[in-house]
Amino acid sequence: MTDALAVLSGLLIGLLSGLIGIGGGVLLVPLLVLGFGFSQQVAQGTSLAALIPTSIVGAVTHQRQGSLDMRVAVVMGLAGMVGAAAAAVVAQHVHGRVLERLFGLLLLFAAYRLWRRS
């Protein structure tokens, strides 16, 4: 039952991402925490893992359509790796409640941007 709900959640988030152009993680993390009872850390780690194949498929599609600037992507990706590694280590040692609050701010920011764009 939970498995079916997980697939359904992925489907819904993939659909919304495609329709509205919002990143999967922003929707996925709160769904895992509030809907499936994940701790904030495990929700975040699972979200990152789910992003790996999703972003690869997306990037390859854009590359084929010629809309990707590989030099920019490599520079951002390399710098991003450094930031992600350091911040992910920090996240393992921060209280879950602190991350929840920070994520709340992120959601408010995402909501503001989404509202302005529509």
């Binding site: 780690g45 979200s47 789910a50 498929v57 990707l68 991003g80 609050r101 959601l107």
Partner: protein
Amino acid sequence: MFAVIGLVAGILGGLLGVGGGFVMVPLQVMMADVKPLRANANSLAAIVPISIVGATVYYVGGAGGHPAVDLRFAGLLVLGGVLGAYVGARSASRLPSPWLARVLALVLALIGLKQLVVP
């Protein structure tokens, strides 16, 4: 410039478990005059290494030696996500969705407030 943008996205991504596209796309457009479609493509490509490194650290370095990644659940999400993204991409041009975006914005704002205030 792009290194700074990537670094900021990586830090937010690693700290909060998201890709960081929400900072990479607008910052490329605002700071480097990149066209939105290209900015989106560059962002997705940069999320590949960010998510790989991030997920690895969460898996290996989880508190108390427990991996902070549910791999099986992630696999199920991806399974549904691929289907959803395919359908979404095909119907995007036909479905005018400003109202959908607004409803979603309101829902996100409410959840954000809840997470901020209520434990």
